[in-house]
């Protein structure tokens, strides 16, 4: 094994893992506060990628402004789905919530299909992101370097929010005891909405990174990426943000390693995330950093 090739693949794995991690955080946070696997989350990511695409190619915005548009737009959409679709079901059985999530997912996919067509659209990647850097025999694009850096910055911000701000503390408290959160004079519904906002904003960033690296957007892009990010959240331990990040990297690296070193199995690369998912569910259902919700009064 050539060391440079190995390092090259590590860089790729880090980049891919970051994208899964960004999306997985939304799954895990929403699960924490609602015990819901938000199957519409991958589609929120798709909407984020589209908003970025529209921002650059139709509105002619500079790339950072388009990212901002995508982040704000997706956060608003995530909060809206909570408000109009999930909130009315707070006291309904969890299965109703799950079915609603699947409904929203289908709705978004088909609405985008109808309005914008199913053909992938080339994402206008800014030139500076395509510059290839080389370092000691390794080569990588600015984009693939930017993805993990931005992810780590965002992760630091999220952890700061969760552990150092009162809103973050309320999010963590909510995962264990909703009623008592209300007793603190906190509107639990508002906190839940903030969680949807944060998760959707991160998903939008993930979606745009995806669109930049595999430079296209299409209405069904959220399905497979979303499922893999969901697998990442479960592997890392659903409910735990750090777990989602670890899970994202595990799935990202696995995929890269399979393609690079076992090319004969390359065609199955998408299956490995789910093999990991099944193994985790069989042997350690709470995942790597899974929170122990046994004592929760949810």
């Amino acid at each position: 094994m050539d060391f440079t090739v190995f390092m090259q693949q590590m860089v790729n794995g880090f980049s891919l893992g970051s994208m899964y991690a960004l999306i997985a955080i939304g799954y895990t946070m929403v699960y924490g506060v609602l015990r819901l696997i938000n199957f519409a989350h991958g589609d929120i990511m798709m909407v984020g990628a589209f908003l970025g695409y529209f921002g650059v190619s139709i509105l002619g915005l500079p790339f950072p402004a388009a990212v901002l548009l995508a982040v704000v737009g997706s956060a608003a959409l995530g909060m809206l789905t909570d408000k109009i679709a999930y909130r009315p079901l707070r006291s309904a059985p969890k299965i109703s919530l799950l079915i609603t999530a699947i409904g929203i997912s289908f709705f978004l996919e088909n609405a985008f299909n109808v309005f914008f067509g199913g053909t992938p659209r080339a994402f206008p990647v800014p030139e500076y992101m395509e510059i290839i850097l080389s370092l000691g025999g390794l080569t990588f694009s600015v984009a693939s370097l930017m993805v993990p850096i931005v992810t780590l910055i965002l992760l630091a911000i999220i952890l700061w929010i969760l552990f150092k701000t009162k809103y973050g503390m309320a999010i963590r408290a909510l995962a264990f005891d909703v009623n008592t959160v209300n007793l603190m004079g906190i509107d639990a519904n508002r906190i839940i909405m903030i969680v949807f906002g944060i998760g959707s904003a991160l998903a939008a960033v993930g979606g745009i990174f995806w669109a930049v690296n595999y430079p296209s957007v299409e209405p069904m892009m959220g399905v497979l990426i979303g499922l893999k990010a969901f697998a990442a959240a479960v592997v890392g331990g659903i409910g735990s943000v750090a777990g989602a990040v670890i899970g994202g990297f595990i799935i990202g690296f696995t995929e890269v390693v399979v393609v690079a070193f076992l090319p004969e199995y390359g065609g199955y690369k998408d299956a490995f995330a789910f093999v990991l998912l099944i193994l985790v569910l069989l042997f350690k259902p709470t995942g790597i950093l899974g929170l122990n919700f046994d004592k929760s009064r949810f």
Binding site: F176, N182, L183
Partner: protein
Amino acid sequence: MISVKDLHVYYGLIEAVKGIDFKVDEGKIVSLIGSNGAGKTSTLEAVLNSVKRSGEIIFSGYDIVNHKTHSLVQRGLALVPEGRRVFINLTVEDNLRMGAFNNDENYARLRDAMYKLFPRIKEKRNQMAGTLSGGEQQMLAISRALMSEPKLLMLDEPSLGLAPKIVGEVFETIVKLKEEGITILLVEQNAFAALKISDYAYVLENGKIAMEGIASQMIGDDEIRKKYLGG
């Protein structure tokens, strides 16, 4: 301070509280006593609108029956819930922070006051609340409720599961809070201890008020002692 009329609480088809009236005057300690399943917890939760209920609830002159739990707390009601219910996955200090969620400007001052009131929880302020003993959790639950600077503090069985010495401390604290001007509605099974510090008391039986009166007279009344206070 608070006056409740014709309060009913329902759990599906079960009616746990069957039309009770009670009031708590400003600056007083009022006790709600009664045996298991009498409807004490349901009554407190009904005041805070966290169970399905009907009736009239007037707090400081305002009809609050349609307010949500969190907005009632913002208006000066607070509950130390049965079984403490501290946030086990948050540190002691972060539990206090949650209590002061809508009281940012006074957080630091109140936190220090709580640490003075209960030095034991100060020592453990960076520990997860789930690692505290039962008594320490009770102190934390009381402190956390006080962080919102409530006008009416409701306590649901604060002595439950505590060693006698700590029960004494908790009751002393309640008296201290009253002296500081906080109105208190106390639910207790430990009826004697509750009556001793109360001004007025209601005895709840099967969702109805079986009797009420001035606390000191209830302790003195032999018949009441036999019937409701177990001796």
